[in-house]
Structures are given as structure tokens and as C-alpha cells.
């Protein structure tokens, strides 16, 4: 007699290969996983339960993915969920657009799911064998007081778990981060000789600063198969943002890394684990563990094919907080693929905040001309 415990619907979904073609079957798995995850959270989180009830939402009756309720991811800046959960780890968002930061409490289940999903997605992109990682940042000291650096390293820790070895190629002098050219050159020479293609990894703005602005030229110094993976977007370098295509061309010019090995990964703290890689100049791919719906900012209905709207991300990974279905303040668009699914999307960034408010503008307290 088989006494094996039946798998949780979320685990069922997470057992699929990350870029399995979505189908009616995967939809069923996805909906079941979402229901299980949301219902569990509703039991654990009285505020979330109150919200569902106030909106008369019965999760068990949901049949279509578009019908899952959602709320803005910024809610985590105002409400602290997971206070009753057995917290294994607490995450904080970077808080670049406001002073407030999202606080996300992870239990061991959420943490395990995040690691599993991220590992599977990274394997699909970078291959199953672990590779050396050249990190475009400064190595944190054991007892550092540099909270910005600590936060940066914490933000990439999930990716770094996939590394065979880690070499930080940034150095810091008087608060300024520069490229350690000697170290990078020496490491590249060694890896080239070993034909051991590394993964160059870092925040997008660090790639821009340390690779593109430093004047270094690594053409011919990197073994074939070298990849570059960056994430975090342009929030910290908004004024110097360059179009994706130009960014990728410039990366190719200084490294020789082809588009097929350039990965721009989109993700956000409130739904960590689920990441959306864009390969080269292509749109971001949606792994089978997630769904992305573009919503019309005026009606909230799913936007028409190719139209720009607010992005809703659905993913059943969160267990200790209600982050399964979140609306982000990034604008994006999505077009139907051949099989009728929206499994790729483009991100156009935050909406323009410079709205002409005129005399209806707000006046900060104690403001003087």
C-alpha cells in the first residue's frame, strides 16, 4: 500500500520544468496551487481574510486565472503580514520610490519554494553545472556597517547560491565603487585558459557603471559560453537609462557576449523566487509557476493584446504572507503567443510621475519658496 503523503498543489506545480509550454493542464495545476496557497494565507492572516470577505471573494469558486483577486505590492509598505508565522527570514525592499520599504516575512516553506524555483530557472538559463560567478560589486566584509552594500548582496544572494565559486570584481575607495581591473583581467585569463565560461552577474546599474562606464575591454578575453546576468532595473540610474537594445549592443562591444547569453532578470521582493528572464532583446519570459496579466489602468480589466497597462503577477510561492497575486506599479505590455497564452511581456518601467497637477498639487508641510 502506498502511504506517501499527497503533494501539496503548490509542490505539484513547482515540479514542472520552468519553461514548460502553458496549456489547459498547466492552468489547472496553476489554479489549484493558487487556491491552496491563498486559502492557507487567508486562514493565517486575519487582515487578508477581512479583505477577501469585504470584497465577497470565495477563492474556492474561482475557475479562471484572471479572477484571482489582487492588490498593489506597495501594501507591504503599510501592512506587516506574517506576524504569526514561524519566520525564517525577513526581507526588505529597496524602497527607491518612497521612504517606505516593504517588509516580507518568510517562513521555511516560502523560503524553500523560492530556492527551488530560482534554482530551476537559473539552471534553465545557465545550464545544470555550476559555474564561477564574477560579481560586479564589492565583497562585503564580515562585520560591515555598510547597510547599502549588505542590502545589495542580500538581494542577489538567491542567484549566488547557484555559483561554483564567487569572485567580487569591484573595489571601494572612499565610498566610490570602481572596477578592480587587475583582478578581473587575471581571472578572465585564467578562466579562458581553462575554457571555463563564467557568469558575470550584478545589478543593472552596476553593470552599466563597472563595465560600460569604466572603459574596460574584455573582447577576446572571455571563454565562449560566458553569460551575463543582471537584475534590478534602472531605478538607481533613471537619468542615465539607455534603451535595452543599446545596452545589449554596448555589452557585446566590450565583452563579446552574444545576445543569447545576456539575461536581464525581472523580479521583485514581494514575490521573490519567481523571476522573469529576458534573453537578449526579447521580452521577459513567464515561467510556468507564474502568470502575468496586463491590466488597463482605467478599468482594471485585462488589457487588449499589446496594450500597455499595470502588471499583475500571480505566483503561489508565498506561504507566510498574501503575496500570491500582486499588482505592480510598473507598466508593461504583453502579446499573445502562438498557443494563445501571454507567456512573455515587456516592461516599460514606472509611469511618468511628472503629472501636471497645477494648482491641485499637494503642498508639503513647511514648504518655503
Amino acid at each position: 500500500m502506498d502511504t506517501a503523503k499527497p503533494l501539496n498543489p503548490v509542490d505539484n506545480l513547482l515540479n514542472l520544468a520552468p519553461f514548460t509550454q502553458p496549456s489547459e493542464d498547466t492552468d489547472v495545476l496553476f489554479i489549484d496551487a493558487m487556491k491552496a496557497s491563498i486559502e492557507y494565507c487567508a486562514e493565517m492572516e486575519p487582515l487578508f481574510d477581512r479583505w477577501l470577505k469585504a470584497r465577497s471573494i470565495n477563492i474556492s469558486q474561482i475557475k479562471r486565472i484572471v479572477d484571482f483577486p489582487y492588490f498593489p505590492s506597495s501594501i507591504f509598505k503599510h501592512v506587516q503580514f506574517g506576524e504569526t508565522a514561524a519566520v525564517a527570514r525577513t526581507l526588505q525592499s529597496s524602497g527607491t520610490t518612497s521612504q517606505l520599504k516593504s517588509i516580507i516575512r518568510l517562513d521555511s516553506t516560502t523560503s524553500r519554494r523560492q530556492t527551488k524555483v530560482l534554482t530551476k530557472i537559473l539552471s534553465a538559463l545557465l545550464g545544470k553545472s555550476r559555474r564561477p560567478f564574477l560579481i560586479l560589486d564589492v565583497e562585503p566584509k564580515t562585520n560591515t556597517n555598510d547597510h547599502t552594500l549588505s542590502a545589495r548582496i542580500a538581494g542577489m544572494s538567491g542567484y549566488l547560491m547557484a555559483a561554483k565559486s564567487r569572485i567580487f570584481v569591484g573595489s571601494e575607495t572612499d565610498g566610490a565603487i570602481t572596477l578592480n581591473r587587475e583582478l578581473l583581467t587575471a581571472v578572465c585569463e585564467k578562466l579562458y585558459a581553462e575554457n571555463n565560461p563564467p557568469v558575470i552577474i550584478g545589478y543593472t546599474y552596476m553593470v552599466f557603471h563597472l563595465l560600460l562606464e569604466s572603459g574596460i575591454n574584455l573582447r577576446g578575453m572571455l571563454p565562449a559560453g560566458t553569460s551575463l546576468l543582471h537584475f534590478g532595473g534602472w531605478k538607481k540610474l533613471k537619468d542615465r537609462r539607455v534603451p535595452k537594445r543599446e545596452f545589449n549592443n554596448r555589452i557585446y562591444d566590450v565583452t563579446g557576449i552574444p545576445l543569447s547569453e545576456l539575461f536581464d532578470v525581472y523580479g521583485f521582493t514581494e514575490q521573490l523566487g519567481a523571476v522573469y528572464p529576458s534573453v537578449g532583446n526579447s521580452p521577459a519570459k513567464v515561467p510556468v509557476y507564474s502568470r502575468v496579466i496586463v491590466r488597463d489602468p482605467t478599468t482594471l480589466r485585462p488589457a487588449l493584446d499589446g496594450e500597455t497597462g499595470l502588471l499583475q503577477f500571480l505566483c503561489p510561492i508565498p506561504n507566510s504572507y498574501p503575496g500570491q497575486s500582486l499588482l505592480n506599479d510598473d507598466l508593461g505590455s504583453s502579446s499573445q503567443s502562438d498557443n494563445g497564452y501571454y507567456n512573455e511581456f515587456n516592461i516599460w518601467g514606472r509611469p511618468d510621475n511628472a503629472i501636471a497637477r497645477g494648482c491641485g498639487d499637494t503642498l508639503p508641510k513647511g514648504f518655503y519658496l
Partner: protein, 432 residues
């Protein structure tokens, strides 16, 4: 070399072949035809403009409807202009004048109007007051309104009115008017405009007003700043408890109308509704308000919202759904939202999308702690016998206008504490 684009000069659009500096120099040197216009000439002319704007053959009737400019038609009528001139230009000194000392007003010179993009009609009213004060005028138009403004000015330029013996021409009225568009980053053009001004009229948000204030200006230039303001509605229990169903619904319609006017973008648009009394006594009225908001939303169907605004409304909806003592009433999409807080009185910053924050005070003195430092209009609904007493209290708290509910969006005199025409002229005296 200034990059400012000239939209309109004199009677017709002209290309920007001449630099802004040269145009401003020419404007200073030009003779202003309206210096010889009497007050009655302006009254007759604008009354004719008002009638022709909405006549069957009007080339701008569609434009007026499309851009929510209907108010200007009423504002230009004979009685309105007469009242405005009487209020603003019958100076107290003039009334008290003895024969041996007479007081007159004269144009200050060049009035430069920086028009905001949120409610462009206000900028248009500003220009008309610049004309009534017989100044030469320069309008720095918002990018979004430039074309509309040019159409309206072209229309006015073609108006011809016979006032007794005198023929009044629109092209004369606009003979000393420059309308330009200059990008906000074009500091060179903005500086030229500011340096030319004898009166600077700045409509706009914080950034715009800040930028204009920092531009170099003549020592004796007068600034009229219509900057960021906050407006709200105040209702007392006695205003609703004795109302018939019809009256209650009319009041609710007034709130909805004020909330939807100009897309809630004006400084006179309410974003908060403060109810004085117990929440239970307002329950029936709030039901009428829901219906009125729904109807107004239907009338405004097809309006689109900025994604930042809709995102913020979505965020606030969640917080009100889960917050103690709070509730939310929401329309389709973001067509309207009522955020009700039964426990804490507050005036919230605007989040737009026709949102109203409803909160309660037990005592009107509580308003002192919630009214921000820049209040403008309060739509007041209370029993008639308490109206003056409550208004006085509001004025003491810095409020500049107290209107009936449903009339907050109407541009009246004074505005933002100014009688603008009076500020746009200089007062001169003659001892005989």
C-alpha cells in the same frame, strides 16, 4: 537664442521666425489699442463673444464642449463682466475721492501668465482679466492646451461688435497679445518672459510655481501666485436630517458634480468630505451619495486615468477594506471611490480618480487640527442660521472661499485671496 515657440501674435498664428526677445521688445514698443476701450466696450464685446461662442454657426462650440469650457460662456456674459469690473476696479479710494484728489487705475504694462495644464480654463480667465486691466499680455501656454487656446483666440480675433458709434474689433483686443509655448527646461525663454513682466501671474503646481518664483524679475513687478491649494466639503448634521428625498439627492448630486468637475484636477475640487455629527445620522445620505456618484461616473464614461493615480487608489482601497472603522464604496474600475473612516477625522492629500475621503468630526473645532496650511474652497452644507458663523470659523482657519455645495468649481471673485484685476493695475492719484 530662445527656443520658445510662438503660437499666436496679434490676430493670427505667426511662425516663430523672430526670436522671443525681439517679439517682447516689439510688444513693449507697440501701442495697445485697448487702452482707449471703456469698461462698457469690454462688457459689450465679451457679451457678444459669449453669444457667438455657442451660436449655431460657432466654429468653437464643439471645442468648448470637448474641453469642459462651458463655464467661460457664462463668465463672459454682460452681467458677469459688469460685476467683475465693479468689484475690482471701483477702488475704495475712488469712492471716497474728493474733487481735489482723484484716483484712477492704469495698466501696469506687460502681464505674463504662466498657465497650468491641469485646468487650462483658469488660465484663459486669467488672460481675460489681463485684457480687462488693459495690460499687454503674454501667455505661456501649457503644451496640452496650446492648440485649443489658439483656436479660441482665432475665434475672438474675428469677432466684430458695434457699440454705439464705436466699432470694437477682436483683432484690436488681441493686438498686444503674445502666446508662446516654452518647455519648462527652457530657462532662457522663461527668464526672458519673467524679465519682461510687470505682473507675473503663475498658475500651477509646486514645481511650476517654484521655478517661476526663482526667475529674475523687475524690482517693481507684482506677483500673483495661484499655487497649490486644498479644497473640501463640510456638511453638518442639521443640513441633512430635515431634507426631503429630493433635496437630499440634489445635495448629493452637488457633491458628485464638484468631485467630477475638471477631472478633480483643480485646486477647487474636493477630495475630502467632512461630516459634522454622528456617523449613523449620515447613513441615509451616504446612500444618496453613492447613487449620485454612480450617475456622475456614467456621465463621465470614457475618462482615462494616470496609472500612478489608479495604482494609488487601488492601494488605498485595500487599506480601507482592512482598516478598523473604515469602509470603501467603489465604482466600476476607478470611476469613483468613497473612502469612509468612522473613527478618525482627517483631510487627506488628493489621490484623484474621483475619490472622496469621508470622515467625521464631533466638534467643528476639531477642524483646526486637520485643515492643512493651504486651504482654498469649502463647499458648505449646513442650516442657514449657522452658515455665517461656520464660514467665519473657516476663514479664520485660512479658507478663502465658502460656496454652496455643487458650485465649488465656478471661478468667482475673489480667487485665492486676490481680486486679480485690481492686482494687475496700478493706482494713480491726481490732486487738482
Amino acid at each position: 537664442m530662445s527656443e520658445a515657440i510662438q503660437l499666436f501674435a496679434g490676430s493670427r498664428i505667426k511662425t516663430s521666425g523672430v526670436g522671443l526677445n525681439a517679439q517682447l521688445t516689439a510688444l513693449v514698443a507697440a501701442t495697445n489699442p485697448i487702452e482707449t476701450w471703456e469698461n462698457e466696450d469690454f462688457v459689450a464685446f465679451f457679451d457678444a463673444v459669449s453669444s457667438q461662442m455657442i451660436s449655431a454657426k460657432s466654429p468653437v462650440a464643439g471645442l468648448i464642449q470637448e474641453h469642459d469650457l462651458g463655464f467661460i460662456v457664462a463668465w463672459l456674459k454682460k452681467s458677469s463682466i459688469q460685476k467683475m469690473l465693479a468689484i475690482q476696479l471701483e477702488h475704495p479710494l475712488q469712492i471716497q475721492a474728493r474733487k481735489e484728489r482723484m484716483t484712477f487705475h492704469r495698466p501696469r504694462g506687460i502681464a505674463v501668465h504662466w498657465i497650468a495644464g491641469n485646468v487650462p480654463v483658469l488660465g484663459l480667465l486669467s488672460l481675460i482679466q489681463g485684457l480687462l486691466s488693459r495690460n499687454k499680455n503674454v501667455v505661456k501656454a501649457p503644451k496640452s492646451f496650446g492648440d485649443v487656446l489658439v483656436c479660441l483666440l482665432n475665434f475672438i480675433a474675428d469677432v466684430r461688435v458695434q457699440n454705439g458709434e464705436k466699432t470694437l474689433l477682436g483683432s484690436d483686443l488681441l493686438g498686444c497679445l503674445l502666446t508662446v509655448y516654452a518647455d519648462r527646461s527652457d530657462i532662457e525663454s522663461q527668464t526672458l518672459l519673467s524679465q519682461a513682466a510687470d505682473v507675473r501671474i503663475a498658475w500651477g503646481g509646486l514645481e511650476a510655481v517654484k521655478t517661476i518664483a526663482a526667475l529674475p524679475r523687475k524690482v517693481n513687478c507684482r506677483d500673483i501666485v495661484f499655487g497649490p491649494k486644498v479644497s473640501f466639503i463640510l456638511m453638518t448634521e442639521d443640513a441633512v436630517t430635515k431634507l426631503s428625498v429630493k433635496e437630499a439627492f440634489t445635495l448629493a448630486e452637488g457633491i458628485a458634480k464638484d468631485t467630477f468637475a475638471f477631472g478633480q484636477a483643480g485646486c477647487n475640487a474636493p477630495h475630502n468630505l467632512i461630516l459634522h455629527g454622528s456617523p449613523s445620522s449620515f447613513e441615509p445620505f451616504l446612500e444618496y451619495l453613492k447613487v449620485a456618484m454612480r450617475s456622475e461616473a456614467k456621465r463621465n464614461k470614457g475618462v482615462s486615468y494616470n496609472p500612478i493615480d489608479s495604482y494609488n487608489v487601488q492601494e488605498r482601497r485595500f487599506l480601507y477594506h482592512v482598516g478598523g472603522g473604515k469602509s470603501v464604496v467603489e465604482g466600476d474600475g476607478f470611476s469613483y471611490t468613497l473612502f469612509v473612516d468612522r473613527d478618525h477625522a482627517d483631510i487627506h492629500d488628493p489621490i484623484y480618480c474621483h475619490s472622496l475621503f469621508i470622515s467625521y468630526v464631533d466638534d467643528l473645532n476639531q477642524l483646526a487640527s486637520v485643515i492643512p496650511e493651504n486651504p482654498q474652497t469649502v463647499g458648505l452644507a449646513c442650516s442657514e442660521d449657522r452658515r455665517c458663523e461656520i464660514a467665519e470659523m473657516l476663514f479664520n482657519l485660512g479658507v478663502l472661499r465658502v460656496t454652496q455645495v455643487g458650485r465649488m468649481s465656478l471661478y468667482t471673485q475673489p480667487w485665492d485671496g486676490y481680486l486679480p484685476i485690481q492686482e494687475m493695475v496700478k493706482w494713480v492719484s491726481l490732486e487738482t
